[in-house]
């Protein structure tokens, strides 16, 4: 005789729900952000919109030089004044922002893909694969990133793709380490065992079940990493190794502005402040996401 009560009981659960779309989940996450997180996110959305849309409305081209109107102060004509070659500073900030933000994103995307892939494979399969990959990671980590970038850039030149690859390439080991650690936690978990007993193959288990568990750490790390990449590019520019003129980037604008630090210090202020705000926003957003996505996640 079966205790039907236990099988057929209808438990008290809030109203029947429909499948929540991915959008809902994202909205939930964003809604859960702290005030600082929301502010950072808004700033970032605005700055991206700004650098993407502003060129349509700007009166000046970022490359148009005018030797007779160099380092002008802000005016109705040039809202942020002009730079050392008489180019419109606002237009430079916009086009420099595009490059800088793109470098940050792309470098991080590279690091995420490469680090995530290698880290998760190492963490999941263990054994020799893990050993080889993690030794590689150790190696990369034992060259301070700046030295590595320095060498890469001097070796391959400093076109944007190279800068992106160089910066991304230095961040992947960090990514790999974290993902490796996160995935390794799951290696012997009952989740993996459960899927194995269902008959799922290792790759399916890894990519369908284990890797998604690490998304939140990856997102947080990537967010923090974008800020880092932006800073790294500007540091490279300081040494003359970053994105090169005539392309503008906030980093190389800052570097150029150094020569005018006595005469037109404001040239250093604009890109500096934008870098500061952007990196700050990414970091704060990363922190806020960390709180929402995974309160336990540590570095």
């Amino acid at each position: 005789m079966s205790n039907t009560a236990s099988i057929t009981e209808r438990e008290r659960i809030s109203p029947p729900s429909v499948a929540p779309g991915k959008g809902r989940i994202i909205l939930n996450v964003l809604g859960g952000l702290s005030v600082v997180g929301k502010a950072s996110l808004s700033y970032l959305v605005l700055i991206y919109l700004f650098v993407l849309v502003a060129p349509l409305f700007l009166a000046h081209s970022p490359t148009d030089t005018d030797p007779l109107s160099v380092t002008l102060p802000a005016s109705g004509q040039h809202w942020l004044g002009t730079d050392e070659l008489g180019r419109d500073e606002l237009a430079r900030i916009v086009s420099g922002g595009r490059i800088t933000l793109m470098v940050g994103l792309a470098a991080m995307a590279l690091a995420v893909v490469l680090g995530g892939l290698l880290g998760s494979i190492a963490g999941f399969f263990g054994g020799k694969t893990e050993y080889v990959i993690m030794r590689l990671v150790d190696m990369m980590l034992s060259i301070p990133s700046f030295f590595l970038i320095l060498i890469e850039i001097t070796s391959f030149g400093n076109s944007p793709p190279v800068v992106i690859v160089a910066v991304g390439f230095t961040y992947w080991p960090q990514m790999a380490r974290i993902v490796h650690a996160e995935v390794m936690k799951w290696r012997d978990s009952s989740l993996v065992e459960a899927e194995t007993t269902l008959g799922a193959g290792p790759w399916r288990i890894l990519f369908r079940h284990v890797v998604p568990q690490t998304y939140s750490s990856i997102i947080v790390l990537a967010t923090l990493g974008i800020g880092w990449a932006i800073l790294a590019e500007s540091g490279l520019s300081y040494l003359g190794l970053g994105i090169q003129p005539p392309l503008a980037s906030w980093g190389n604008m800052l570097q150029q502005s150094q020569n005018y630090i006595w005469t037109a210090p404001v040239l250093a202020v604009y890109p500096g402040v934008f870098i500061l705000l952007t990196v700050l926003s990414y970091s704060l957003l990363g922190e806020a996401l960390r709180d929402v996505l995974d309160p336990k996640l540590k570095r």
Binding site: T65, P67, L68, E84, L85, G86, P245, N259, Y260, T263
Partner: protein, 532 residues
């Protein structure tokens, strides 16, 4: 020319050589009491190499070796060669031998006497040894060998007549001690090059902390007498902003400023004196003459008409510079020829010249000839203001429908690409040379491709003139030849001439130095006055 050095910052304490005071209104140094045994602090931007001929000694080393060593001649403040280790020099009639008498009262700082053997050794064993590839040694290709006639007399035996020899002997051509170098590899003698140089100069090295500073003290045995300055400390400061800051805060006594932006700023500082000086230096754009399209003089002229040099000088250089009309700097008043073809900014003229040359605007707004758009690859090296100047040129050319692909690359890669591989369409750089009209090295067909004739310009008529200039015996002859040279270069534009920059030497108010470039001033350090 430009020497490579570390970093991308404009070298501040750079070794410009030949310059004249820009303003003659030199308020004569007050005859007030100087400070005997003063210490002054100068700056250099990297670790020096004390061997003046070392291929790796550049602007960071020159201001130091200038004090440690002497050449046979030196610069007067009027940029004429004056006696240094040599007392006098005379050419033979055919111009193929120069006889030079040496001082007999000179001692090396280790006590050994200086003799003709040192001169012979320096030239025959170091400068003229092809395998060693000493810095600046290509200046002396005309020298066959140096012979000691007596301990106090040497003869320079030349391959061709070369009237400028005494000038070039003042241009970083320092004499090294044979007794130290004999039997040694001069570049690997680090005990000398990096630690304890032995020279005849007015100062001797007392302390060198790598990466930090170089300390020199007055050479008690110096033949040229003593001045106020007992001690010269070169601070190694790589960052130009730090140099400027240190000057402003008083911890540096003097720096060279090449950046026009800083000049007004420094001038308005009540604690500083700023001497504007012009440098024998001109900026140019080279167009690769191995490409037929650039061999068309109309194209070259059009490209020069398209650049508004006046505006650049006024706006970007803040007025610190002059439009260059040719290879000879106006500071060489005798040789300078102002009556040559000029190219005032005229984009319309530029366009019509291009049309004459067969170019037409295509649908993309780019000039095109025979279906080939006029597209120019322009590498720019990260050095000083080259990148900015190149960007300006790019913009001007684009205005007349010339597409310019600017590629900024680091200095070493740039040199490899432009100088070594000659892989460019156009490029912008500058030449800095001794104050002498002899420009053969930069224009002669023989140095196209491998030497300093960067654009690879070949013109037998010009070759002939340049050779004549070297052979000329009298000054009149030389003036005439070089006038012709300037007329020709202005018409032909082997290089597109941009401007002659004005530089400045900024010193603390209490330091009175001759109004010349840093390096020349150093030759006269015994005359410096340090006020209370």
């Amino acid at each position: 020319g430009c020497s490579s050095n570390s970093g991308n910052n404009e070298p501040a304490a750079s070794g410009g050589a030949a310059s004249v005071p820009a303003s003659e209104s030199a308020s004569a140094p007050a005859e007030s009491e100087g400070v005997q045994d003063a210490t002054i602090t100068l700056a250099t931007n990297a670790d020096p190499n004390f061997n003046p001929w070392s291929p790796t000694g550049f602007v960071e080393s020159e201001p130091i070796t200038e004090l440690l060593f002497d050449g046979l001649t030196a610069w007067g403040t009027d940029y004429q060669p004056i006696p240094a280790l040599a007392t006098d020099w005379t050419p033979s009639d055919d111009g193929l031998t120069w006889t030079i008498n040496l001082r007999t009262d000179v001692k090396w700082s280790d006590g050994e006497p200086f003799t003709a053997d040192d001169v012979v050794y320096t030239f025959n064993e170091i400068v003229l040894k092809k395998d060693l590839a000493a810095a600046n040694s290509s200046n002396f290709v005309a020298v066959d060998k140096v012979v000691a006639v007596s301990p106090s007399q040497v003869q320079f035996v030349l391959k061709q007549a070369w009237s400028s020899l005494p000038n070039y002997l003042a241009w970083f051509a320092k004499i090294l001690p044979k007794h130290i170098f004999e039997g040694q590899d001069p570049w690997n003698l680090t005990s000398f090059n990096k630690e304890k140089p032995v020279g005849t100069g007015s100062y001797v090295l007392t302390k060198y902390m790598a990466g930090q500073y170089v300390e020199l003290e007055r050479n008690p045995n110096y033949f040229g007498g003593t001045g106020d300055v007992a001690k010269v400390v070169f601070n190694i400061v790589p960052d130009i902003n730090s140099q400027v800051a240190q000057l402003m805060s008083g911890s540096l006594s003097m720096i060279t400023v090449e950046d026009p932006n800083l000049m007004d700023n420094l001038k308005s500082n009540p604690n500083l004196t700023v001497n504007e000086v012009s440098d024998n230096n001109y900026y140019w754009v080279a167009l690769d003459q191995s490409q037929p399209r650039f061999q068309d003089v109309k194209l070259r002229q059009a490209l020069l008409y398209a650049i508004d040099r006046e505006s650049i000088i006024k706006g970007v250089l803040k007025g610190y510079g002059k439009v260059a009309t040719g290879p000879i700097n106006p500071m060489m008043e005798k040789f300078y020829n102002p009556n040559v073809q000029t190219y005032a900014y005229d984009p319309e003229k530029a366009k019509s010249l291009l049309e004459e040359a067969g170019y037409k605007l295509n649908s993309d707004g780019i000039m095109e000839k025979d279906g080939e758009p006029l597209e120019i690859d322009m590498p720019a090296g990260q050095y000083g203001t080259l990148v900015q100047a190149s960007q300006l040129v790019q913009q001007y050319w684009q205005k007349i429908g010339v597409k310019v692909n600017l590629q900024v690359i680091d200095w070493n890669s740039y040199v490899q690409r432009v100088v070594s591989n000659r892989d460019y369409d156009a490029t912008l750089c500058w030449w800095r040379a001794p104050v002498d009209p002899d420009i053969l090295a930069y224009y002669h067909s023989n140095s196209a491709g491998t030497g300093n004739n960067i654009p690879g310009y070949k013109n037998p008529a010009l070759d002939k003139l340049l050779e004549d200039g070297r052979k000329a015996k009298t000054e009149e002859e030389r003036v005439k030849v070089y006038n012709d040279v300037q007329t020709m270069t202005a018409e032909e534009l082997p290089y597109l001439y941009l401007w002659n920059p004005t530089i400045a030497v900024a010193t603390q108010k209490n330091l009175i130095v001759p109004k010349t470039t840093f390096i020349v001033a150093e030759d006269h350090i015994t005359e410096w006055k340090v006020l209370k």
